[in-house]
Every structure is written in C-alpha cells, then in structure tokens.
Symmetry: D2
C-alpha cells in the first residue's frame, strides 16, 4: 500500500487526486494538506467525499510529510515547490509535482515565462517530465521527482507529436487553438470565473503569452531534433471539464515508395497515429471522419485523437480531447505514481468516461 500525502488538496486538481486515489486499491491517502483550510474537515470542503473521507485538512509541512508517506503530490501554485523542496525531503520521499516548477529544463525559459525566480534549479536535471506515453522508460523506482505535465500541454503534445516525430509536418507552422473547461482556472474566488461571467461566453486569453507554450515547444523540439516555435492560444469555454485541441500544420512532402516526393495522404498519417498509439491504453485514435469531443472522455484518463487532411491547403488538422483534471492533471499524476512504484500503469485509472 503506497502511503500518499497531498499538498494543495483543496484545489480542483487536489480534489480529483482524492477521487482517484480513493478508488485505487494500492494507495492510501494519509495527509490532506491545505494551508487555507487547516483543521477543517476535508469532506466539508468537497462534500462529494461526505462519509468517504473523515480526515481534516493539515498544513503543508513537507519535512514532516516526508517522514510519513511514500509519495507527495504537490498541487500548488507555481514557485511553491521550488521554494520548499530540499535534498533531505527528496532523500526520504518521492515527489510528483503538478505545478510547472520542474517541467522546463532551461531555467531561463521558466523564469521568463513565469516571471518568477526559480529557487531550486539544482533539482531540475533529475526531474522526469511525466508524460508517461513519452517517458515511461525513465519513470521508475529510482526517480525521486516527477514534473507532471500541464493540461493543455498533455493534450497538445499527444495530439501532434507523432507527426512531428515522423517529419510529416513542419513543426514551426504549428498553430494550436485550445479550448478549456473552467476548472482549469482553479478554485480561486475571482470575478472572471463566476458562473454568470463564464456561462454563455467564450473568449481567448493569454494570447501569445500562455505559459504552456514553452513546455510544448520543448517536448516537441526533443522529438523533432531541433528548436520548435509554435503558436498556442487557449480559450475559456462554458463547461466544467475538458480540453479540446485543434492543431493546424503545413504538411511536408515525403518520399513515396516509387521515389517521388509528395504530400502524405490521410491514410499515411493515420498509420503514423496507429503506430504511435495502438499499444497505448489511454490514447484512443478515433476512426477517420470522427472528431474528438470532450464529453466522450469526461471523468476518464483517456485522450482521444484524430486528424483530417485538407488537400486544398496542404495542411493537416489534428484534434485531441482529454479531461483536464484527469489525464491533464490528477490522472496522469496517478499514472506516474503507478510507474514509480512498479504498479500496473493503469491501476485505478481504468475509469469509463461518463456520458451524458
């Protein structure tokens, strides 16, 4: 039984971690950390856990926690973990960080996009970027620190990376237009996230400046073998959960069996998707002509992807959908925990999406 502590248990991602871990047969939560709700009954903060969780919230004492648990999930604001993580902690416990603190290898890029100083860049090199489908092999029991990817990032990368890896698109032509449910904005009490402000409305935000951009670029760059610069635009949609990514890229001509160069066909691109994902439980390649919908993955750890070639423009439109709180946050974090502790990768995550 893996003993688990959560810091930031009263945010939406924290709450989802609790939901998933309560249904995980090999994990047990022993610490519900939440600075703002210390001593308050956790099930009073999230009443879905009424009678399911009797514990009250504790503080965020990482040192103490390190002694009591096998793994700490930090679902905390940017900069928190970077400011508090120590060698002593990491020598006692594994940490899966749902914030961005250790996702980006180049600390200058982190500091530029996040506008804060990184307080513990020394831990960046050892952190594994926990997009399990990419880094499964590196995510084992020797790892002490996992940087759990962002929600937009996970969806954007899984939707596009097979095409980047196979050089059938020009990655620098990549334009990612993403739409997110409002839980991605967190549980902070802000006017812009009130029901009446979000309902019946759509808007872009963080245009050309959203912090998930460099994270996507870094991962695509590794695969491509060179720097990648993309356009990424997030949008807020009037729904609780879900991220939908629509990604556009110029096709690159490829060599056909008979030697001539031409744009790849839609079938060829589907072959690439299938080669990449047919063995992946959590990535579902939809059939030709389908389009991913956020509703079809809600509550689950699945990512649905599909694509369409536009022969008029020689572009491919790649689409992906996931639940931002599951595969985009807590689900992926549990998937990483499973890998770190040698459990079945899908343990506790074989959730069937809920519809409607």
């Amino acid at each position: 039984m893996v003993k688990v502590g959560i810091i930031g248990a009263t945010g939406y991602a924290g709450g989802e971690l609790v939901r998933l871990l309560l249904q995980h047969k090999d994990a047990q939560i022993v610490w519900y950390g939440s600075r703002s709700y210390i001593d308050e009954k956790y099930a009073n903060v999230y009443r879905n856990f009424f009678e399911l969780v009797e514990e009250s919230c504790l503080d965020d004492n990482l040192e103490e926690l390190a002694k009591q648990v096998d793994v700490i999930f930090t679902a905390t604001p940017q900069g928190y973990l970077a400011s508090h993580l120590t060698e002593e902690i990491l020598s006692q416990v594994k940490v899966i960080d749902l914030s961005a603190d250790y996702r980006i290898k180049d600390v200058n890029i982190y500091e530029k996009w996040y506008g804060i100083e990184h307080k513990s860049p020394n831990f960046i090199p050892e952190a594994v970027y926990g997009l399990c489908e990419l880094n499964r092999d590196k995510t084992n029991d020797k790892v002490r620190l996992v940087a759990n990817p962002g929600c937009y990032t996970t969806c954007s990368i899984l939707t596009t990376i097979p095409m980047v890896a196979n050089h059938v698109i020009d990655p620098n032509s990549l334009i990612i237009d993403a739409k997110s449910g409002t839980s991605g904005a967190g549980r902070g009490a802000k006017v812009v996230n009130l029901f009446c402000e979000v309902n019946e409305s759509m808007k872009a935000y963080g245009v050309a400046t959203h912090r998930h951009t460099p994270e996507i670029e870094e991962q695509l760059g590794y695969t491509y073998g060179d720097d990648v610069v993309i356009s990424f635009t997030p949008h807020l949609a009037p729904m609780n959960r879900g991220i939908l990514v629509t990604a556009y890229a110029n096709l690159e001509k490829v060599q056909y069996p008979d030697g001539h160069m031409d744009y790849p066909t839609e079938d060829m691109l589907f072959d690439i998707y299938h080669k990449a994902y047919d063995d992946e439980y959590f990535v579902r390649v939809l059939d030709k002509g389908m389009t991913p919908e956020t509703k079809w993955v809600e509550g689950s750890n699945f990512v649905d992807v599909c694509l369409k070639v536009d022969e008029r423009t020689h572009r491919v439109i790649m689409m992906g959908a996931l639940d931002n709180l599951v595969k985009g946050a807590a689900g992926q974090a549990v998937q990483n925990m499973n890998l770190l502790f040698g459990l079945k990768e899908t343990e506790g995550l074989e959730l069937v999406p809920m519809f409607p």
Copy 2:
C-alpha cells in the same frame, strides 16, 4: 460471472448500465439490445465506449436472450415489457425492469396514470419493488422479476419515508417539488429537449399529472399504514444529471417523555433519519444546516438527504439529491442485480462522486 443482456442499451439509462457494468468485476455484458441501432457498433452510438466495447447492437429478442444470459435489464418504454414478458422467459432468466410496468401493484392505477392497457398483469404480484433500502429482504435469488423504481420516486421516497414511517408528519400534507436534469427526458430527438430550448431555462411540467405520483403514494402508503395522497411537481433544470427533491410537510405533534404533546424538534427528526440510514451505505444524512446539492452525488449511487424544521409554520422541509441515471436508474438496477445474485450489495457501485 453474471451474464447480462440489456434491452434498450442505447437510451441514457442503458448507456449508464453499460458504464457501471464494465466496471463491475462479477458481471459481463453479452447482449447490447437496441432495436433502432441493430448491427451498428455500440461504441459508435456512445463514443465514450470507444475501444472499450467492440460489440454491435442486437435486436430485442427476449426469448433468445433468456437462453443466453442470467439477467436481462430492460430500459424500455412503458408497456414494452408488459407486452413481451412470458412465463417461459421468466423461467429461464431474471428480469430487472427499469420501466414502470411492474412497479404499481394495482393495475387500475397503472392503466389510469399511464393511459395504456397492461398486457401481463399476472406477473405484477411476484414483482419485487426494487428500492433496495426498503425491500432488501425480499430481493434474493428466488426473485425472478424486479421493478426498478423511478428516478423521482427513489429520491422522493428515501427523502421522506422515515418521517412518514414514524408518524411525525402528516403524509397527506406532503408537497414534493422536484427538479431534474435533462437526461431524465431521454435521448429522443425532440425540439423541447434541444440545447437551446433547455439552456438558461426552468419550467414545471406534468403538473398534478406526473406518473411517478402514484408510485410514491403507494410506497409511502405501505409504510404509513393507510392511503396517502400527495402533491408532486417535477421541473426541468438546465443540467445533464441530478434530481433534487424539496419536500414540505406539516409536522404532527408527538408525545414527549414527560407525556405532553408537542411538535418534534429538528434534533428528533435527525435522530429518525440517522436511525433509518446510518447503516445504509448509499444514503448519506448530511449534517444540520447543510443542503443537498446534485453535484455532490453526480456519477455515484449516493442519495444525500437533510432536513430543516420551520418553527414558524410547523412544517419540515426535507431535501434529497441523487444522480437520476445512477441511484435513479442504472445504479439501483445493478444494486438489485447484486442482491439477486448474492453478490456484495455495493459491488461495482462504490463510485466516488465527481466534482466539479
């Protein structure tokens, strides 16, 4: 392993049955019946099951099905099962009916409220009314036919019946004002259920004529020991799932320990709730001052109940919330299946509500 057939698998309740049974370790679906989608891949109808269900839809041949499975769930329109059920079928297989066909013992009442002739009243006497918290003792392996209760009914009864049973309210003063998510209206293509018609709107419907009324009255009447006549008004709310019941009743004076008669206190009513439900896994009695919210039970088989005494009017306001597709339909049906086959009653149903 219980072999399961579903008739009406492509309705919302049918889809929810599939979601629950796929996560049930002792059940296996072998027949996805849907007259409208015969030969169509089931996962094309409900794409949340993409890669999880490979089967295609079959017809609704009950005779054939009876030979292949251990239990049939019928999530079909009123009158369907009554028209097709035979002794031969029942001699081979158990049937859990999610329609209203066998819920009401007095066939005249059924025919009056539903406006159709009942074609097999002979099976009514043996049917167990499958509100498990009331009829657990009668729901065993000898039972062939279970009448799974309605969604409004389950919520209304569980919210009010301890007070009726203890004679602390006048059941004939009961006014039940219920609010339901739109999945309760089914998946039929009707203008009134289009997104643009439902969104941003609330309305009552079926005022003074809704068919769940006599079902509630019958069950309350058994407990009360006399006929009960209530007011019941359903409302359509702009949400997918959830039923919220707000029930009003006049308090009856009770005898206090010192012999004097007076209205019961709120604490006394909470004691009644707790006595009734503390051993029930699926009924959660909230704390004083809380009010049930549909979101806190979404996706789960829980019913949350609470109450408030209004000393100005000598009335009690009882409130209950459940997920109409789970405890109000498919979840309760699986709970009944567990009872019929001697499985743990909560098997496959210990789902944690999803929030947000």
Copy 3:
C-alpha cells in the same frame, strides 16, 4: 429628460439599470457610482457598454449626487441607504432603492430577518412599496422614496396575490418553492458562485430563513386582511437569469351561484387571474395547460403566470416566471421611475424577450 444617478452601478442590477436606461428615450445617466471602481472606465467593468458609455465610475457621495440629478437609484447592500439617507437628500431628489431597507414597514421585522439595526426608520413610513401593479396609484410625483421589491418577492406576489385577495386559497397553507438564476447572488467573488460550483448543480439555500419571506407575507397580509405566514424556499439554478416560482396552496371552498359551497374550478381561478391582469401590460396570464418558463421572459419586464388545479388534493399550483434582473430589479425600478416622473409606465420597457 430625467437626470439619473446610480449608486452601485457595477453590481449586476446596476449594470442592468444602465442597459435599460441607455435605451430609454427620456432618461440620461449622469453618475455611475461604484465605490470599488472609482475612476475606472465603466465600460471596462462591463464591456458590453464599450463605446456606449464613456464615463468613468464615481464615488457614492449622495449629498453631491442629490444636487446633480433628478433621481438616484441605489443598488447597494442592505443597510447602506438606511445609513446614508437624510432629509436634505430627500428634499432635493427622488430615491428608488433596490435594496430592502425600506420595504418592510415594521422595523422590528426588518431588524430580525436582516440582523442589522435600521439607521433611519423615520423614512420607512413615507416609502412606497414599488410593486407597480399593486401600488401604481400611490407612486406619483409627490413620492420621494420608493422601496423597489425583491426579485423573489415580485414573482411570488404577482403569482399568488389574486388568489389571496379573492379568498379562494388559504394563504397560511401557501408554500412557495422558488428557483433562481445565479445573477441573483450578485457579482461578489465567492467560491460558491464560481462557474464550476454552480454548473450542473441545484440546491436549496436559506431554507426557512430567507429574507424575502417577511416581505411576501407583509404584502399578502395587506391584501388578505390578516397576518399571513408562509413557507418560502429559494433554490440556486445553473442559469444566469430567471426566477421560477411554484406555489402550492389549499383551495378554500367558495359559494357557487346556486348557494352550495365547493372548491373553485380551474376556470374560476383563471377568471380571477384575468380580472387581475388583463389590463396589466407586464403580467401575461398564460393559457390553460401552459407552464411558465424563465427563458420566455428573459431580458424583458414580463411576468408570466399560470395555474393548475389538482382535484385529488384540492390544491392549486400557481406558477410564475420573470427575469430577476429586469422585473425583479432594474426593470421594475425604471417602471417606478416612469410613474414618479409622469412618463408612460412602459417607456423603455417594451422589450421583447430574447429566445433562445
């Protein structure tokens, strides 16, 4: 041209006042008061007014305002106006108060339900309760202070009062179950009103304690000729606008032309509705068998009412719907302004509801 000042212009009711007054040919807003947004461009707070309102927000200096305008609308928290109103102000300007400060004639009841001391009870007697359909005759150019009714109150009273007035129901049996859109909760940044908390959920709140209760009781009592005590339960619904009232009452037997006493028929009750409202532009009595829906009045000053007699229980179910920000707040305030200044009562308010 009536010169208008608004205090509390950046709340939802304040914003709606602006929307209505910009389209009113005889009114001109000269003061957008908002303590929290002083010097901020009003159209930056509510961007629907971009290029339509160039003014910036001012403070809430009532004395100064009284010199500059003909009428002040106060859309402010409870107690604000009571603390700031003076004889000097009222001698210079008319005040239409959208808060509850002067709605209730008995200051003890006000102080008990609102839990605050009333700082200027001396003005209560002269305040006209501005439910125009009831008090039109008293709302003229001599009036200095109008207490604009609450949103729940307006809907509850207009839906039920003809029946109370005609003694065809027992007013003390009245149970009002009301459902409101979330704009009624205001624009304050609170977790409970975040999109993700409200969406896909319904709940009751303020059970047996909501402050609109005594306001309804007082007005019904005047009509009935005796004290009235009712049950009132508000609910929060996942929509922006709209209040739906479902009101239940026991029918009283009435004398028929031939002298015998019996319950009134549905037709008789419709006659009462029509007699009360056929000359009222803003109250629409729907046809038998219809039920009001909040969507059908959205954006307008209409109240739709209808009823249904339940012969099984000898109760009548009365239903009403309005837009809480229009007839429930800003629209009614403008209607009062029209009356105070001798304008056509419907001026600026003949808005056609928007659907969908």
Copy 4:
C-alpha cells in the same frame, strides 16, 4: 412603414427577425410563414411573443406574398429560394435571403460545396452580398435581391479583412478557428443537438469542408485582388448564442517610412483596424490587450474585434465576436432592409448587449 413577410419564421433566425422587427419603428410584419406550423399561433411556437404577436403561421406562397409586402425575408434551407424565386416575384418585392443561395458568384463553387444544383443561377449576378460594412454603397433602393451573409462568414471577414486589404498578412496563411453557440445548428430535432449531448462538450465539425469557407475566400479574394485559400474550422460550444473567431496569419513585411522592410508592429495593425472601423457603428475595435467575448455582444448587432501580434512567430492573432442570430443573421438582414428602404442604417438595431 415597410411591410414585411418572413418565410421560415419558426427557425431560430426567423424568430430573431420577429424580435428585432417588433422593436423596429418603421417595419410591420404581416406574414409569418412556416410550412411546418401552418395555422398554428405563432406565439405558441415561440412563447416569448405571447400577447405580442397574435397572428398564426401562414404557408410559404412567395407569389402571394410578393403582392402583399414590400420585402420578404427568407430564412429557409439551402436551395429553397433558388428553386422558387422568379422574375415576377422580384419585379414586385425585394428579397433578403438569409440562406446561401445567392452569396457565391461562381455557381460551380456553390454547387460543389453545397452538393445541390442551383435552380436559378440567372439571379446570382444581381444579388448584392449584404455584408453592409463592405457593400453599403451597393445596397440601395434599386436592389431587388440581397444575399445576407453567413454567421461564421460575417465574423471571419470583419475580423480579418482590413489586414488582407492592407496586405500586411499573407491571406493564404490564414487559419480561422471558429466557435459557435448551438443556435447556429438550427431548431431541427436532432439527437446531436439535444441538451445532454451539447452541454459540457466541445467538438470541431465540418473540418476542411464547411460551406462557409468558399464564401469567406471569395470576399477576401475581392479585397486582396487575387484568389485566397484558407483553412476554416467551426466548433460547437455549449452556449445558445455567439460566434468567436480566432484567426491566425503570417505577417508580411511592409515598407517603413525610412524605406526598410520589416514586419508591421501591433500599433500599425491597430491603426489599420481603426481606419477601417472607427466610422462603423456596429464594429467595435477593442483596446490593446483585450480579447473579444461572445457574452459582451449578446443580443446586439455589434461585432467586437481585436488583435495581438506574436513577435516570436511573426504571426498576428485576430479575434472577433458577434451574436450569430443578430449580426450573424437577423440583425444584419434588418440592417440590409434599412439600407434598401433608405432608413437610418442602425434603425431598430441600437440594441445594448445583455449581460450577464
């Protein structure tokens, strides 16, 4: 007083025409045409018009209608008007067509994208493409036939055309990612548009094949002076109204005053927007740093546009928002009517957006 007939009055665009025209002081609706609802009271189909419209629905007899009215609005399926329009009709009455039948000048392109034969291509040349901001000068009392633009089209063109016209972007790099409320899908009873299917979901549809694509390309091409081929992807969003366009294009280098060539700055692009739109009542150029939101234009004829230069990618992201039923359909049609009849262009359309 302009006498108006509407064919297709019971669709959402038809209903919106009625809402707008009822509030238009120079227009009077004399014919509510709707084949599906003949003889049914119009206000029973759209109950927002209860007591406001007493007429019943009539058939779609264009010949008869031509004799009775000054202008016919056709809010009908593709191909309907092309099949029924005659010289005799056009000689008696003006027609404003909300369908696509006369929008595209090249009939082959129409037939290819719509998959139907055009039955009256002879009228295409005289039809004015009624995007008033572009073709105001051509839209006068001599015009007999106006092709009212599509909703996506209006938003896409107004958002991007100043940049295309000024050759500061490469129009063939243009990628338009559009999000629409569900009213754009019409009032047909289809499962995919049910509340439960749309709510809590987002999806792309018509990827690379949507019929508004050639319409956008044609209009941009006129301005650009050459053929333009773009990518256009519509998405369905869980809201009633609103279209949000996010458009991406590669910047073209321009000559600076000192003669050197470089990418234009954000300020230069804002200047272009302002030059194009400062005199346009219905197009609002937001301030730098703002992003359009559909909610801020809901119920009005406004289009809000804004842009952001991404210096990392040398792209500009242009954004626009409108209400698909107003500026995207009925509002623009009324704007065209005003132009055709020499009325003030904004007559009946100075609606203030409704928030929240």
